[in-house]
């Protein structure tokens, strides 16, 4: 343990600047949250008419990121593809960090956070017909599974021992349907609401999965390239290119599913079209979200085009542009692009234009920063262990400082 603390305290100036930056965001987020907790959620832009907003949008997006760890797991274990095997662990670390952020976003969004224990079975009460209740259960289960796998592998590696297949393999295999499960349950949360026609569409669950499977790996690809650059970790190009290829297919599915939704709305031309129109065209003078809508489309299409071309995948510049475009496009799409049009116009036809306040942005930035911090610290310990630079069983020279 002390060795780990030692490791995370050793780093070059990029590392410390990164930590300082994250620390600043966390501090500002914490201050903003204290203000919000004492005055009330009135400090957000959410009102009765649009009762969910930026926090829940971020939550939804991050559940997708957490589920995407499985994109690596499937080829690694099911197809036993060696190049990806070594980096599965980073996917699981990402999943753990993402779930932490998800839980934090729920914490900052609810009106009575001190009552969240009401969700704990036995202590509280879970309404079995509530999808949100099930979401809480499966998210926490997925978190525990990933945490157990990751800590076990790292612990064993620390002592120079191979991990126990009897623990890891079943859990990892279980995590595949669980990953699909958590995002499907999150989709059902919206999908099941008859009151919100924009969400009440069967296509939501597959569309969530498609956008999750491109946005999660996008972060991972960037992280892997950083690892490759700043540590002695060797990650084969084939692994990276393969992931990018899978992302291309996922993005195609994402775009296709969005496209068919748009067709259904515009062609059937019922009153339900209002929500889609608000997103893409605005309604009357209410046009706040239109720039976001088209930006997301542009980013997603760009990402798809870049990743579908092998040459572009293999060029580091276009690869990274594609990753950022995917991440940003899916973030807009699944955050604001899902929640707000679903609630605007509201059930009684009123249009209240929602966009986040400074408080919401500060708190959200703080939560993201906390998640990134957790991810960074875990990587800082996990990478040397995986490389064999940080061992508990044999005496080694102190590990070289790296990111």
């Amino acid at each position: 343990m002390t060795g780990s603390v030692g490791i995370v305290l050793r780093g070059n100036r990029f590392y410390w600047m990164w930590l300082a930056f994250l620390g600043a965001l966390i501090a500002s987020g914490a201050l903003a949250y204290v203000r919000q907790a004492s005055t009330g959620l009135v400090l957000t832009a959410m009102r009765d008419q649009v009762s969910w907003g930026f926090y829940i949008g971020n939550f939804t997006f991050l559940v997708g990121v957490a589920a995407a760890a499985v994109v690596l797991v499937i080829p690694a274990y099911i197809y036993d593809w060696k190049p990806i095997r070594e980096i599965v662990i980073f996917g699981e670390l990402l999943a753990v960090s993402a779930i932490i952020m998800c839980l934090l976003f729920v914490l900052v969004d609810v009106g009575r956070p001190e009552r969240l224990w009401h969700l704990v079975p036995l202590m509280g009460y879970i309404n079995v017909t509530s999808i949100l209740g099930w979401d809480a259960i499966v998210l926490n289960l997925y978190f525990v599974v990933n945490l157990v796998v990751v800590t076990h592998i790292i612990y064993r590696a620390y002592y120079g021992q191979p991990y126990d297949k009897r623990i890891v393999i079943p859990l990892v295999l279980a995590s595949i349907p669980m990953a699909i499960g958590i995002h499907t349950v999150t989709a059902f949360l919206y999908n099941g609401m008859a009151a919100r026609p924009y969400w009440n569409s069967s296509i939501l669950a597959p569309q969530f999965l498609a956008s999750a499977f491109c946005s999660g790996p996008a972060i991972l690809l960037v992280v892997l390239q950083l690892l490759r650059k700043f540590t002695r970790f060797e990650i084969q190009n084939e692994a990276i290119w393969k992931i990018a290829e899978l992302m291309a297919y996922a993005m195609f599915l994402n775009l296709f599913l969005h496209g068919v939704e748009a067709f259904k709305e515009y062609y059937s031309n019922t009153e339900h079209l209002l929500y889609t129109r608000y997103w893409f065209q605005g309604l009357g003078e209410h046009r706040t979200l239109v720039p976001f809508a088209w930006t997301a489309v542009a980013l997603n299409v760009t990402a798809f085009v870049l990743f579908i071309m092998p040459a572009a995948r293999q060029n580091p510049i276009t690869l990274n542009i594609g990753c950022l475009a995917t991440y940003a496009g899916c973030y807009i799409d699944k955050g604001m692009g899902l929640i707000i049009p679903g609630l605007t116009p509201d059930t009684l036809g009123e249009i209240y234009q929602y966009y986040p306040t400074v408080t919401e942005v500060q708190v959200s930035a703080g939560v993201f920063a906390l998640g990134f911090l957790v991810f960074t610290l875990m990587l800082k310990v996990a990478v040397p262990i995986s490389l064999g630079e940080f061992r508990g069983d044999i005496a080694l020279a102190p590990p070289r400082g790296g990111d």
Binding site: V42, A45, R47, Y352, T357, T359
Partner: protein, 192 residues
């Protein structure tokens, strides 16, 4: 949960109705402190029991009742000629089928303290709804059932009816426009 509760409640209600009589129909209202006149309202066709309810007194203008103080054989013999009134009651502008009817089609010619039906039968002012019911049969049936017009009281007990004329002036029955209460506040973002 709902699926068991509703049939169960229906069964319980049916038993209760059969065993204990209908809920609230034949309760006699206790008189309240204000001078309430009792109107006898014929019940719905299915009920066998008369429903007695309270009704506040008819809304006479100040000092106008009893009409027979002026309208009697000696002081003011009845004049059946249909005409606009100029000597008295000229503030009343009739807007109630005024093409075909005038005052004495409702007010009894010989006994001004009462109204009369089309048959000639006189009716007290406290039962003026019987007159209204002659033409407005559907409204009358609804009012008797408590579905038309304002009521206060208990949903399963004593209720206070109002006479038709408490809301609809018999001379200008159209319900007056009201000033609405203020609109709700629009949702506003916080200052920062």
């Amino acid at each position: 949960m709902h699926r068991t509760v509703i049939p169960l409640s229906c069964a319980v209600a049916a038993l209760a109705a059969w065993g204990c009589g209908r809920v609230g129909v034949d309760r006699v209202a206790t008189t309240e402190s204000h001078q309430a006149m009792t109107a006898i309202v014929p019940p719905r066709a299915s009920a066998a029991v008369q429903l007695r309810v309270e009704v506040p007194p008819p809304p006479f203008s100040e000092g106008v009742f009893p009409c027979s103080e002026c309208h009697n054989e000696t002081d003011l013999p009845p004049n059946r000629t249909r005409r606009p009134l100029v000597d008295a009651h000229d503030e009343i502008v009739l807007k109630h089928d005024e093409e075909n009817r005038w005052c004495l089609d409702c007010h009894d010619t010989n006994n001004r303290d009462r109204l009369h039906l089309a048959s000639g039968e006189t009716v007290a002012f406290e039962e003026s709804y019987r007159i209204c019911g002659q033409c407005h049969g559907e409204k009358y049936r609804d009012w008797r059932a408590g579905v038309h017009g304002r009521r206060i009281g208990e949903w399963n007990g004593a209720k206070q009816y109002l006479l038709c004329v408490h809301c609809h002036s018999p001379h200008q029955p159209r319900f007056k426009s009201l000033e609405p209460r203020p609109a709700p506040r629009r949702p506003m973002r916080p200052a920062r």
